[in-house]
Amino acid sequence: MRLSKIPLRNVRRHPSRALLLGLVIAVTVAVTATLALVNLSAEEDLARQVDEYGANIVVIPRSEELPLSYGGVDLGGLTYDVEPLHMSDLDKIRGIEVAENVNRVAPKLVDVAEIDGTRVLAAGVQWEQEFGLKRWWHIRGEKPSGPSDVLLGAEAAESLGLTPGDQVSLKGESLRVKGVLEETGTDEDGILFLDLGVAQRLWDRGDEVSFIEVSAWCNTCPIETINAQIAAEMPYARVSSVLKMAESRELLIGQFRLFSMVLSGLMAAVGVLIVLSTTLGAVRDRRREIGVFRSLGYRRYHILEIVLAENLALGGAAALIGVGVATAVQGPLARRLAGVVNPLAPPPLVLAAVLVTALFVVLLATLYPAWAASRLSPSLALREV
């Protein structure tokens, strides 16, 4: 017979106690592991969404501006030495060292358009890049795709009195309103979007662009690095990061992580207390039995081994069940609670870490009762002492 038989048999002898301990450990592990996995999924998903939706870098021409005032009268500013951006700059952006992190490059040419005597801001765009960048756009009518298509912001459509399907004449060019954007609450509501090539031709701007919006995946490469590499390629341009978005993403993820950690910590603390008190009670019930073991020549570490082995065996089995439950429910929960579209497959390393941590916590919770058991006197085996 091996020493390990004693704790295993004792578990079978007290099924209700074993069930209680096992349940506490399994539930704690399941909740903690589920939160960790949902957190990971949400983190990945949020990062991907933020990376894919919208620009996080804006490239504009570098310019020198001179504020003008004379005799206390503000005369506006004077912009000079402006070196415009060109279509060739798009290749420079796509050619940076971490080009694999560049998702969308969306150039724009901005000017004023006059339609039937009403002036609106017009923006020439590359339809495919623009739609890839602005995934939140909802369009009434059809999605523009050709050179003669026009997309109107909600306010622009209202002020021009145009609806999808209408024809407009811009600088003598006949264009067709394919769609109208639903209100976005941004400057885009007042803009008339048209094809970039057409805009360059109508305003006679060659291959000039006013600014370039860049969407980059910052998950594997810091935005500052991408920013610096674009700036190095285009010293005549000003490259700015849209940090607010990154910061809000970090904040959101951080809050979720904090919530998960606090809840996991609380559950672990409650679990430790239950394991500790239940094991202390079990040791108290087994005082005479432990006294018998000691009288038979068991050293203190043998007793320590028996008590620890019992809880570790139980804890290991319960933690495995907990991890299994977490693996099964984390996907649906991530979808339902955190709105994650594609939850991660639970990484084996994370599951292994959860198991090891659970065993370590059970070990910590059992150390004191095991130590107390190992200090019991062999004379407890004698009834009258």
Partner: protein
Amino acid sequence: MALLEIKGINKVYGGQGPGGVTALHAVDLRIEAGEYVAVMGPSGSGKTTLLSILGAMSTPSAGSLLIDGIDVYGLSQERQADLRREYLGFVFQGLELVPYLTALENVMLPLAILKEKGKPERALESLERVGIDERKARRVPAELSGGEQGRVAIARAIVNDPPIIMADEPVGSLDSATGRQILDLLRELADEGRAVVMVTHNPESTEDVDRIIRIRDGRVEQDSRQDARQDARQDARLLPVEVQPMASLHTR
């Protein structure tokens, strides 16, 4: 050299101060190999305390215990445990078999912490000696009669082949016929050359013992030999059990 010797043993519970209760007063004893000794006395007389000190279980407040010449309470706790395993076998009041282990596993308990082969064989051999067959050896204590449980307890006490057996009211919870069987077994163990020390309050249990030590109020009141009975057995006695001294304990 006596196998078991205590010198000037005092045991005070609750500290040496005015609140302390003295359980044993300056007790001196020598017990030889092959002696079957009964320790008798009324409840609270100190007999179980004496057994716990003789059994290397409870450190005395003063005095020393020598087993095979080893100063037991001069050893560390862990080495005292080793000494108990090597030199002592216990039969407890209520027998104290572990209820969730089979008879065989109960007997193997002292061997479970040893790294050696042939443990089941040794345990079965020990059980056979006390009349428990292999079929019954596979049963848990609750499936055995009182007498069989007593035999298992004795098999567990002798499985390590210790030179000293300590028995604390071994027949206290058994009917008279079963108790008789246990007492006979203890007698046999003494006849093999082991020292058997039995605590009892029942005079009937002392019929076969060689020596009776009466304790009252923590003092040895009477230490008498039942020489005639002992002499009658002298010839029939087997060779004494060979004590294998633990070198590590002698050279602590």
